[in-house]
Amino acid sequence: MTETIDQIFVILKHWLVGHVPTAVEPIVSELLSVVPIILLFPLLFALITVMERKGLGRIQNRYGPNRVGPCGILQPIADGIKTLTKENIVPHSADKVVHLLAPLLLVMATFLGYAVLPVGRNMVAANMDAGVLFFFAVGSMTELSVFMAGWSSRNKYSLLGAMRAIAQMISYEVPLILSSVTVIMAAGTLSTVSIVEQQSGYTGIFPHWFVFTPWGFAGFVLFMIAATAESNRSPFDLPEGESELIAGYYTEYSGFKFALFFLAEYLGMMSISGMAITLFLGGWAAPLSFLTWIPSYLWFFGKLFFFIAGFIWIRGTLPRLRMDQLMNFAWKFMLPMALINLVTAGVWRFMPTGILRWLVCSAMVVAPYVLLGRGFMLGKRLEKRTYRFAD
């Protein structure tokens, strides 16, 4: 029974595919994998926007939207109608074609990433042998659409925002990929499905997630920091830094195209969270062995919501970095840490199991963190100051 509920969508798909003529079977099968993704994640996006606004509201001691529908849950529909009915303004001197293509390409590229995310047991749109590589490859395509958006608007703020976005995305792609390489090293595969399968075992009641190793934890933290930067979320939201660049690369977009950028941002956030879950948090695997009766896809989406909540929490707390600090952080802190972590993963792989392995690897991660962090603070002479008082 548990098995059936867990596999219900897979069974449903096979049943549906069995009813169509053999000639169109592969196409129908593909469609049945793709359409749910295209329907489900925008729905999730709608849910997340209201969740974010309410969450931020609560963090800021406000209610957040609470007028449309019960508890404001229908707010996204109101927002959607608003953006859809708004006038589509294209600047006179804009490069019209590129201006139009940019948001479409961006959304397309972010959707592509979902193809390799296993959202449940046997639930992946494309089980590719080089899944992780595919994910990062399509992820890198978003940079180009961001550039297209910024450049085609013929607006200085847009261009500055696009340049910032690209510089930031390229810089943080390095630690992002390097920190996921540790997992690839440990798993010995690039396929997302096998990576999750390797983490689905249990010792006692505890799962074999990669995050529960020193290198895995460090890699996870690095990955999440880089992921925040990749998805342009606070505190790395410089490309759209409202107080500096109005709205960055999408300053000149309005109406539905603006909504597409919004959609792409959240889709990107979700897909990269999904990748983090896949790589470090055991994908659809249950966190404790006696909880495996809960369907795998629920675990995946539960973890996804957990991540989104984290993103919202961080956004509600931190101020934004500055461009040069962002770059310094990427190249002088994240990159060395990711490289050290890579070595740590190697050491972990070749040391015998035991407490010594834990100690050595933890020290290998923590010591550079403390040293680099201190150097970072001292180098900038950042400190809490004391003040004198005059009568």
Partner: protein, 166 residues
């Protein structure tokens, strides 16, 4: 198998031609990415998944972006003039036509070119990895060295001449 190939081939060629003939440099690069994407599609058609993704990652994710950066840094967005000497036009066309002719002739005259698609080989990324670490480890190291050298060289070349700060 022919329809996807035709579409992708058409897109690739169209992208390449546009990249070489449009006046606005940024448009050229955008068209170029289309050609690169088409090529990646061809690699996928040919069963070279890893290379296809690497092509997207490196060419679209890095080289195209690098090129637009260079264009913006050199203020090259204003339309670029074609070579306007008629003699050069003629000589260039002749060269290109000759090269193309020779290539097509070679392709057509070879019996190899009429070979049909063999059954797809079972290639995994794992095998590529083993090959890289085993038989091709020396080229890999050389490439690593080359990339490092290129990285440093590019930084030094593009650095401000007066002060090192960005």
């Amino acid at each position: 198998m022919t329809l996807p190939f035709t579409i992708i081939a058409a897109l690739t060629i169209a992208g390449a031609v546009a990249a070489m003939s449009l006046r606005n440099l940024v448009h050229c690069v955008l068209a170029l990415t289309l050609a690169f994407a088409g090529l990646a599609g061809m690699y996928l058609l040919l069963g070279a998944q890893f290379v296809g993704f690497a092509q997207i990652l490196v060419y679209i994710g890095a080289i195209a972006i690098l090129t637009v950066f260079a264009i913006l840094l050199t203020r090259g967005t204003e339309p670029d003039a074609f070579l306007d000497l008629p003699s050069a036009w003629v000589s260039n066309s002749v060269i290109v036509a000759a090269v193309f002719g020779v290539l097509v002739w070679a392709v057509h005259s070879s019996p190899l070119s009429r070979r049909t698609l063999p059954p797809p080989p079972q290639i995994t990324v794992r095998q590529i990895g083993f090959a890289l670490m085993d038989r091709f480890v020396l080229p890999l190291e050389v490439i690593g060295l080359l990339l490092t050298a290129a990285l440093i060289g590019a930084v030094i070349l593009a650095m401000h001449e007066k002060q090192a700060a960005k």
